[in-house]
Symmetry: C2
Subunit: 454 residues, 2 copies
C-alpha cells in the first residue's frame, strides 16, 4: 500500500509539472461537474394567464396586464426543500425569461416586481430564492433571458424595424442588458452558475458586452455562454440524457456556433476526446415531460405528465452516469408553490436514489494501469459507479472492469470516457471472487477516485 501511495504522489507531481496536454478545469468547472444534479425553476407572467403556454406565441405577444402575477402563497423554502429532497445540489431561477419580466427588484428593468401590486411592489423572488438555497445548502444560480423580450419587442436579440427610433432602442437595449447583468452579479452575492439562454450575444453580433461584467464580478461562476466562452456545454437535447461517450472536453472555447442541429447535435452531445477545452455537458429536461408533453412552465392539468420516478432514475443514469450534469426543470404554479404531485415525485426520486446508491457492496480507488482486489465473498451487486478525479483534467481514454467468477475473468463494464461518473446497471445481480480495473489508455496518468459496487 505504501508503494501505491508513493507512486500516486509521484504521479500527481508529474501531473503538476505541466507535462500533460489535457485541459484542466477551473475550480468552478470541477465543482459544476461534481455537483451532478441541479434544478431550474421557470417562473414568468404567463404562468398566471390561465392559458396553455405557447412559447412561439408568448415570446412575441406581451401580457396585457402584468398584475395577473399574484402568487399569494409564494414560498421559495417549499421550492428548494423539494429540490433538496430530490438530491439536487444547486438551483437556478429564471430571473428574466421571454416576457422580459424580472423576478427581482431591478433598478434598470421597470418591468419587474416593483411594478406589481403583489407585496406592494416590494417582492424579491431572487432574494427569497437565494435565502432558501442558503438555508437548505443548495448553491444558487440564475438564468438570464435576453434573447426574447415580448414587452420590449426584442426578437432573437434584436429590435424590429429600421427607423432611427429602432436603432436607438437597440443601443438602449444592449446597455440595458449590461445594466441588468451588472446589478444581478453585484447585488445578490455569488452565483454558482450564470446561464444566458440562447447565449449572451456580444458586440460583434450587435449585442451587449456581458462577459467582462461576469468575469469582473463573478470570477468563480460558471459562465454559459457566448461565442468566446462557454464553461460548460449544452448536451444537445432536452431529454435529460446524453449518449455515451460524453467527454468533458470540446474542440473549441465555445459550442453554440458548432452545435450542428442537422447532425442531431452530435458534436455537443459527445464532446471531443482530446478536445483542447474543458467543457463538460449539461443534460436538461423538464419534470413535466412525460407522455407527449415537454413543459418548462406550469400549466393547469399537467400532473399526468410528471415523469415517473423510474424515468427519472433512467435519466440520472444516462446523464450523471455518462459524465453530464443533470438539470431538471420545476414549475411553481400560480399560487406560488411547487404543486404537490411534483413535490411528491421529487421526494420519491430522492429516496430511491439514496436507497440505490447509499450502501456500497465494495469500493476502491486506483491510479494504476491495472489493479486487482478480492471481492467480499458472496455479496451481490448490480450497479457499478466509476468516478474519475478530473481536477487535472479528464485523462482516462479506455477502461475495463472485470470480475473473476469461477476462475474466469468476465468484463462487466468497459468503455472510453469516465469523467465525473460512469454508471452501469447490470441486467442481474452478480458476485465474484476478485475484481480488477484495467486502464490501458490514459493521458499522462489518471486517478480513479472510486469504483463502487451496489
Amino acid at each position: 500500500m505504501l508503494r501505491i501511495i508513493l507512486i500516486s504522489l509521484l504521479q500527481l507531481l508529474l501531473l503538476n509539472t505541466g507535462t500533460s496536454q489535457v485541459p484542466i478545469p477551473t475550480p468552478a468547472q470541477l465543482a459544476w461537474a461534481g455537483a451532478e444534479f441541479g434544478v431550474i425553476f421557470h417562473y414568468d407572467l404567463h404562468v398566471f394567464d390561465g392559458q396553455p403556454y405557447n412559447q412561439a406565441k408568448n415570446r412575441i405577444t406581451p401580457v396585457a396586464d402584468y398584475n395577473i402575477f399574484n402568487p399569494t402563497q409564494l414560498d421559495t423554502d417549499q421550492w428548494i426543500l423539494a429540490a433538496k429532497n430530490a438530491g439536487a445540489t444547486f438551483a437556478i431561477l429564471t430571473v428574466t425569461h421571454e416576457t422580459g419580466f424580472a423576478l427581482y427588484q431591478s433598478d434598470f428593468n421597470p418591468y419587474s416586481l416593483k411594478a406589481l401590486k403583489w407585496r406592494d411592489g416590494k417582492g424579491d423572488i431572487l432574494r427569497d430564492f437565494i435565502q432558501s438555497c442558503n438555508k437548505f445548502g443548495l448553491l444558487p444560480a440564475i438564468y438570464i433571458g435576453i434573447r426574447w423580450n415580448s414587452f420590449m419587442g426584442i426578437h432573437d436579440f434584436y429590435v424590429d424595424g429600421n427607423a432611427p427610433i429602432s436603432k436607438n432602442r437597440q443601443a438602449y437595449y444592449n446597455t440595458y442588458c449590461e445594466n441588468i447583468t451588472r446589478e444581478l452579479v453585484t447585488k445578490y452575492g455569488k452565483f454558482f452558475f450564470i446561464w444566458f439562454d440562447g447565449g449572451a450575444h456580444g458586440p460583434e453580433q450587435g449585442g451587449a458586452d456581458l462577459l467582462p461584467i461576469i468575469s469582473a464580478n463573478q470570477p468563480d461562476a460558471i459562465f454559459y455562454h457566448n461565442l468566446q466562452r462557454a464553461d460548460v456545454r449544452w448536451g444537445g437535447s432536452e431529454s435529460g440524457t446524453v449518449p455515451y461517450p460524453c467527454w468533458s472536453t470540446f474542440a473549441y472555447p465555445s459550442w453554440s456556433q458548432y452545435a450542428d442541429a442537422k447532425n442531431d447535435f452530435k458534436a455537443i452531445k459527445h464532446g471531443q476526446e482530446n478536445g483542447a477545452y474543458f467543457m463538460p455537458a449539461m443534460a436538461d429536461a423538464p419534470l413535466r415531460g412525460y407522455k407527449g408533453r415537454h413543459e418548462w412552465f406550469w400549466e393547469p392539468g399537467d400532473e399526468a405528465h410528471i415523469f415517473p420516478v423510474a424515468r427519472l432514475m433512467d435519466m440520472y443514469e444516462k446523464s450523471i452516469g455518462r459524465n453530464a450534469t443533470l438539470i431538471i426543470g420545476l414549475t411553481p404554479d400560480a399560487s406560488g408553490l411547487l404543486p404537490q404531485p411534483d413535490v411528491d415525485t421529487l421526494k420519491a426520486f430522492g429516496d430511491l436514489l439514496k436507497a440505490t446508491y447509499s450502501t456500497p457492496v465494495f469500493s476502491f480507488s486506483s491510479d494504476q494501469k491495472e489493479i486487482e482486489l478480492p471481492l467480499p465473498k458472496g455479496r451481490k451487486f448490480d450497479k457499478i459507479v466509476i468516478a474519475e478525479d478530473q481536477s487535472r483534467g479528464q485523462r482516462v481514454r479506455a477502461f475495463s472492469l472485470q470480475v473473476q467468477q469461477r476462475g474466469k475473468w468476465i468484463t462487466i463494464a468497459a468503455g472510453s470516457s469516465i469523467g465525473n461518473k460512469f454508471i452501469k446497471k447490470l441486467d442481474a445481480p452478480i458476485s465474484g471472487q476478485r475484481i480488477r480495473l484495467l486502464i490501458p489508455k490514459s493521458e499522462n496518468g489518471h486517478l480513479i477516485k472510486a469504483v463502487t459496487l451496489y
Copy 2:
C-alpha cells in the same frame, strides 16, 4: 332697471326655447373659456440628464438610467402657489410626455415612479399635484402623451417594424393606452381638462379607443382631442397669443385635420363665425420663451429667457383679451422646485394683473342693441374689457363702444367677436361725459355681462 331685467329674462326664455342656431357650450366648455388663464407643468426624465433638451432627439432616444429622476426637494405646493400668484385658475401636469415615463403610481405602465429609488418607489407626483391644486383652489388637469414613447419605441403613435412581434406590440400598446387612460380618469378624481398631445388617435387610425373611456368616466372634463371630438381647439401657435377675431366656434367637431400649417393655421387661429361647433381657442406659450428660446422643459442656464412681465401682459391681452384661454408652460427643475426667477416673474405678473384690472372706473351690463350711460365725471381710463355671456353661445357679431367727448361721439373700441373677453388698451388715458355700447348685429339676442373701464 326693472324693465331691463324683465326683458333680459324674456330674452333668456327665448334663447331657451331653441330658436337659436348658435352652438351652445357644455358647462365644461363654458367653465374652460371662463377659466381664462392656466399653467402647464412639463416634467420628465430628461430634466435630470444635465443636457439641453432636444425634442427631436429625446423623443426617439431612451434615457439610459431612469434613476436620474431624483427631485429631492419636490414640492408641488411651491409649484401651484407660484401659479396661483400669477392668477392661474387651473393647472395641468404632463403625467406622461415623450419618454413614456409616468409621474404617478401606474398599474399598467411599469416605466413610472414605481420603478425609482426616489421616495422608495412610492412617489406620486400627480397625487401631490392634485392635493396642491385643491389646497390653493386651482382646478387640476392632465396632459397624457401617447404619440411618442422613447422607452417603448413608439414613433408618432406607431411601433416601427413589420414583424409579427411589432404588430403584436402595436395591439399591446393600444390596449396599454386605454389602460393608462382608464386608471388616470378613475383613480384621481375629476379633471378639469384632459389633453392628449398630438391627439388621441382612434381605432380608425390604428390607435386606441380612448374617447369612450373619457366620456364614461369624466363626462364633465374638457376633452382635447381626437378626430371625432375636440371641446376646445389649439390657437395655432405657441406664442401665447391669437389674432383677432378669435371666435369661440369652429366649422367641424374637431380641428386637427383642418389645421392647415401651410396657411399659417389661420382656420384654427380665427375659428369660424357662425361655426356649428362651440370650440374656444387655447393660446399656449412656455414662460421660458424669450430671446430666441422656447423651452417647455427646464434646462440649466435659461433664466435669461424668462419672458419679462410686460411681455406676459401683452400675451394676456392678446389671448384672454381676444377670447382665448391662455396657458403658460412652467418648468420645475431637477431639484423638484420651480426656479425662483420663474416664481418671482409669476408673482410680479400676478401683481401687475391685479393692479391693472382690479379697480374699475366704471362698469355696466346690457342685453340691448344700444345702451347709453353717463360716465363718472373726470375719471380717466385707458383699458376696456368687454365680457359676453356665452352660456347660450357666442352671439355678438358686431359691436362698438363710444365715448362722448365735448358733445361728439368717439369710437374707442369696435369689432366683431367678443366672447369671454375683449380687451382693448388705449394709447392714452381718456375721460368722457357719456358712454354707449352698440351691438348692431347679434344672433337672436345677446348678453354683455360687463363693459368695464380701467
